[in-house]
């Protein structure tokens, strides 16, 4: 109360400025000190976090669920993962939040970030493993082997990989035998409102259609909304609908209510609409892919599958 007067305000401003300046200096001095030693043991990691849907599925498939201490918001399958602490969206990780789980390794795709947070995690001694999640078999085998190696589960990793590639090889063989024209397919994400997004080039959806012997009518890159009219013009023979909330007939109903024009496509007229689980389509190829490919082949070539089944009996 000593310096009440017209300069009081000015003084306060100066004090505020000084506080700011002191904060800056403290920050600089401290930043120089704060670089800590980082080393991760070579032994199998017992606490890991997965920031990617398919990565989590592979970890579970090789029996490493007990080693998982946290997952991101795209890790939805199997549903037991949803009981684990969530570290949020893979591109918006929080350094401190991840550190509370005391992970040794953080697995994720190249999309994981932001980069400054990854740098902070590295400084805190967390090993950041960026795995390829492209939709091709080479990326899958590389990622799964790497996970197995780091978790001390190489044998299990080889086993799940072998099951995967055997199943895919068998599907390829089956496709060689099928007869009939290649179906023209459209894969749509139905959100229940607005135009559904369709899966174009360089998506897991596109890869699934190709591996199941179909022709993807959507030729754009990634996911884009197509208008009802252009979907009608493409006139798909098969529509695959990925719906977060509905399965089977309910998914079809939701899709038709948001884009009624689709009623006039061959696919809807002939009842060739297949609902698939949308969690299959994010974050690369997971262990459930071969099973889905088998179902799609059955749906794409119904007559042939019946014949094959009859012959084998």
């Amino acid at each position: 109360m000593l310096w009440i007067g017209r300069f009081a305000v000015v003084k306060q401003i100066k004090i505020f400025a000084v506080v700011l300046a002191v904060q800056c200096c403290a920050g600089l001095a401290w930043a120089a000190q704060g670089v800590a030693e980082t080393e991760v043991s070579v032994a199998a990691a017992q606490r890991v976090i997965s920031a990617g849907g398919s990565i989590s599925e592979w970890l579970v498939a090789m029996g490493a669920q007990a080693q998982l201490v946290g997952v991101d918001t795209t890790s939805l399958h199997p549903s037991s993962l949803q009981a684990l602490p969530s570290i949020g969206y893979q591109r918006q990780l929080a350094a401190e939040g991840v550190l509370t789980l005391q992970p040794q390794i953080l697995f994720g795709s190249a999309e994981m970030g932001p980069p400054p947070v990854l740098a902070q995690l590295r400084a805190a001694g967390v090993q950041i493993e960026t795995l390829p999640v492209d939709a091709d078999l080479l990326a899958v085998s590389h990622s799964v082997r790497r996970m197995g190696q780091l978790l001390g589960r190489s044998a299990e990793a080889e086993r799940v990989l072998q099951a995967f590639s055997q199943a895919m090889a068998q599907h390829n063989k089956q496709l060689d035998k099928v007869e009939g024209e290649t179906p023209r397919v459209l894969l749509v994400f139905s959100a229940g409102q607005g135009n559904p997004l369709s899966a174009g080039k360089n998506t897991v959806g596109d890869w699934l259609i190709e591996q199941s012997g179909g022709e993807n009518l959507a030729r754009h890159q990634g996911f884009k909304a197509l208008s009802s009219e252009s979907m009608l013009a493409l006139n798909p023979q098969v529509i695959i609908v990925a719906d977060r909330h509905n399965q089977g007939l309910a998914a079809l109903e939701t899709m038709l209510s948001s884009s009624p024009a689709l009623r006039h496509t061959d696919a809807v007229q002939k009842g060739r609409v297949i609902a698939i689980d949308p969690t299959l389509l994010v974050g690369g190829l997971g262990p459930r892919v071969p099973q889905q490919v088998a179902e799609l082949i059955d749906a794409f070539y119904p007559a042939t599958t019946v014949q094959v089944a009859q012959k084998s009996q």
Binding site: G5, A8, V9, Q12, C24, P85, A94, T100, P115, A123
Partner: protein, 344 residues
């Protein structure tokens, strides 16, 4: 008058100090009070025996929490100061820094960096945050400069024209952002959405310095124009007749705001509401004298942002809320409460 403002500053200063201490002390990782004190002792030069828990605490406090607290301090202060400057310039308590196009320009710059970068095959991970910041800053300054130019006629700046030009250019920038949104793929789209909600996450010293310097400059400069801003409240010609260089003042206000908000948005994304609500609330509390209003707004803006960030990082731990959501959640109801209270 000044006696009350003295008490106000003591109060606001205490609140800010508490906010800073809590920002360093609280987070998803719990650090014991003992270790926190050790870390602070070490920071001021004491020799403290090292333990693994202490090293961990030091890393978290010095590399994660301190840069984050500094970022929050600077962003909150500079947004609130810019809000006062704009409300003074437009003589309207509803003005916010977005009016002169700096926010929409920065958002456009960010959209160009995020979507354009992804379309060019991706900027290298190490550089993308810097390029994003630079593009957002440049976009904010560029659009503001254009708005200012459009508002000038015959050597005079017409505030009303500038306001309308700001609205038009914001709409234009909105359309361009929409186009980029359409071109973006799914992942890029989410980056853009999150950027628009703002975050203090991932603060690092390298990206902090430009903002701290600019905040420092704005916090020193604007209070020097407090008397001129007071005179401007009477009207432009009245201020001119009182002997203030009104044209120069307008130029300075626009420049300070563009610089400050541009840097804040570039460092932390779009954080709404601070620039509008903080000056408004303080004006209701302490009156329109800019000599009090400017520094008080800076202190209160910094405190509000630090508290909002505490909520953002603690509520959903180990995940995190975008801070723009929290500032709006805290700010909007409080604002409404004050409006209703002052009416009855």
């Amino acid at each position: 008058m000044l006696n009350t403002s003295y008490r106000l500053f003591v109060l606001l200063g205490t609140v800010l100090a508490v906010a800073i201490v809590l920002s360093l002390a609280l987070g998803p990782v719990s650090i014991s009070l003992q270790n926190l004190v050790m870390v602070l002792l070490r920071a001021v030069g004491f020799d403290v025996a090292s333990t693994p828990a202490l090293e961990q605490a030091q890393l978290i406090v010095s590399q994660i929490r301190l840069p984050r607290a500094l970022l929050g301090l600077a962003v909150g202060a500079v947004l609130a100061l810019s809000g006062v400057a704009m409300q003074g310039l437009f003589r309207n308590p509803l003005a916010d820094p977005g009016l002169i196009g700096v926010s929409s320009g920065a958002a456009l710059g960010a959209a160009v960096a995020i979507v354009g970068g992804a379309m060019l095959g991706g900027i290298s991970e190490a550089w993308s945050p810097y390029i994003l910041s630079i593009c957002a800053f440049a976009g904010g300054l560029g659009v503001t400069a254009l708005v200012y130019r459009l508002g000038r006629r015959d050597g005079q700046t017409h505030v009303a024209t500038m306001l309308l030009a700001g609205i038009a250019l914001a709409a234009l920038a909105g359309a361009a952002i929409g186009l980029f949104t359409y071109l973006a793929d799914d992942a890029t789209l989410r980056t853009l959405t999150f950027w628009n909600l703002g975050s203090l996450n991932g603060a690092s010293y390298a990206r902090l310095w430009p903002l701290l310097l600019i905040t420092f400059a704005v916090a020193l400069w604007l209070p020097r124009r407090a008397k001129a801003l007071n005179a401007l409240l009477l009207g432009e010609s009245e201020a001119r007749h009182l002997g203030f260089a009104v044209e120069k003042l307008k130029r300075e206000l626009v420049f300070c705001t563009a610089l400050g908000v541009g840097a804040a948005v570039a460092a932390a994304g779009m954080i709404g509401f601070i620039g509008l609500v903080v000056p408004h609330v303080l004006r209701l509390a302490v009156g329109p004298d800019h000599r009090v209003l400017l520094p008080a707004s800076a202190l209160a803006g910094a405190s509000l942002l630090l508290f909002a960030d505490l909520a953002a990082r603690l509520l959903l731990a180990p995940a995190e809320l975008p801070i723009g959501i929290v500032t709006a959640l805290i700010g909007a109801p409080f604002f409404l409460y004050l409006l209703l209270k002052s009416r009855f």
